[in-house]
Chain length 340, copies 2
Amino acid sequence: MQLKNDLLIRAAKGQAVERTPVWLMRQAGRILPEYRAVRESVSGFIELAQTPELAAEVTIQPVDILGVDAAIIFSDILVIPEAMGLPYEMVEKRGPWFPNTVKKEADLKKLRIADGIDDLSYVIEAIKITKKALNGRVPLIGFAGAPWTIFAYMIEGSGSKTFSKARAMLYTQPDFSHKLMQMITDSTINYLKAQIAAGVDLVQVFDSWAGILPPDQYQEFSLQYISKICDAIHEVPKTIFAKGAFFARKEMADLNCETIGLDWNMGIKESRQLIGPNKTLQGNLDPAALYGNAKQVENATKIMMGQFKGSRHIANLGHGVYPDIDPEMVKIFIETVKAY
Amino acid sequence: MQLKNDLLIRAAKGQAVERTPVWLMRQAGRILPEYRAVRESVSGFIELAQTPELAAEVTIQPVDILGVDAAIIFSDILVIPEAMGLPYEMVEKRGPWFPNTVKKEADLKKLRIADGIDDLSYVIEAIKITKKALNGRVPLIGFAGAPWTIFAYMIEGSGSKTFSKARAMLYTQPDFSHKLMQMITDSTINYLKAQIAAGVDLVQVFDSWAGILPPDQYQEFSLQYISKICDAIHEVPKTIFAKGAFFARKEMADLNCETIGLDWNMGIKESRQLIGPNKTLQGNLDPAALYGNAKQVENATKIMMGQFKGSRHIANLGHGVYPDIDPEMVKIFIETVKAY
């Protein structure tokens, strides 16, 4: 189906756009009262993500209510370990928790390469329902976690300030680590291809814990596998968002992808110099800037837009929108971008 | 008293050294069984920090047991809010917690500028006891938190993944934020001067949450106040360690200090280029590298030393040593630096 608003896709490809497209990471599933109403009708986050009709509903809410230029499927990066045979629970106010973790080579035998279709049919079904309901209004973004970030959770078993178990593994068992990374990479490629077959118009890979590795280790254990994913996906534009990987920006210019996401620590001018002119940059307003009043949000957004001016850009925050942000301020951010 | 081992001081000042000095952030108070024995004899972390004889004892342990080239006084950056009138508790496994936080301009009236001597007499006393017991064997490092990091805790009331309350304040109440920053800065200068009067040979300022601010905001709300501290202290060399402030390295070259600490994300060659030749760099082995075996720790340390070679350097980790690191691996790190 032809997209009525294809600004995101054209901006990603570096084609001419009438104005800069805008969406927000975590736009579905955090800030809207309409989301919370749906969320309270089920037992928890995972049930919501696994109920395709409801996942589709909350995916579309920000398009209707906020006026963003893209929808992103409501799901979670940790569906991949689950599909590989390592289930998780979402503990209220604490985050994800894995009853079992991967500790040694023998544990790899208990894992499988996810096929992306049967293993993750609930996501695929949610994508199909969303595409139908969106009816071409805006593009739908699919996503997955980067292999290092998924690895970090599979070893650590939960969120962590230091992810020291996962990082220890890279030092003590590099061969094992590479094997697991490759299994995650293969699963992720299958999963993204299944999302694309189901209709997503662009895919984004989130390396949420990129910023915790030293530069050399990041090349070896993360960027190498992100590169494999980029090389395997040809059907739609790809965005790589590696939070905190300021030290890898130059190397990211060589990835076979269209767009690089910037977090709010990364200077825009410096990032453009390091990444060069041949990628679209996505981001990067400080999520905390939306705590300001209307005038402050408008000013901060205009300053950000001015710094990106004249080069390929998709407007977004520098990380996911914070849960306690007033949706009215999100609207002002969006409207300021649209009017710029 | 003349120092018998003054490698740290000479390296900080850029003077000739026979070999690179080495110490570890958090060397006291985390990894040693001898520390845990002392820790278990009191009710908690804060009692230990406030008992000068015991604080001195655990300060000296790593000099005796690990062979580091410096001692750092066992204390906590949050003694400053406490001395300003905002007490905190240390909750086991959760970290610091403030029963009251600073929320608005009127709350500033309840705070005072800490004088550093009467308000923090237990630290000053611990420094005097430590200096006497060290008897000039190695230099003693004093320290304080940077104003932004202290501000973040005073507003947020605890550790946080996002410090979104503190960051919101910078956007919504910049004037109030500057007033509180200045109060913290004045308190910190008093405190560091009192530490120096009591005998510390070098001071380090820790900006633990530097990496959470966008570059412009970091200049305005953090680096500006660090600079005031640097300008106020003349008596001993100063080290600034701003974790995650990769984006401010160039500006840090202009600080009136001798040494800049690098975290393990910061490339050594790139950091030297940005900071220039006129500062000593401290760091920056990945703390997780010490999870390796003896050979791996030795190799990782040698690689790090090689990258710093030929320029002003104090060897350290890129952050505090992790609590579950084997002290034997810490010794190998130290011995590898010494033998390099």
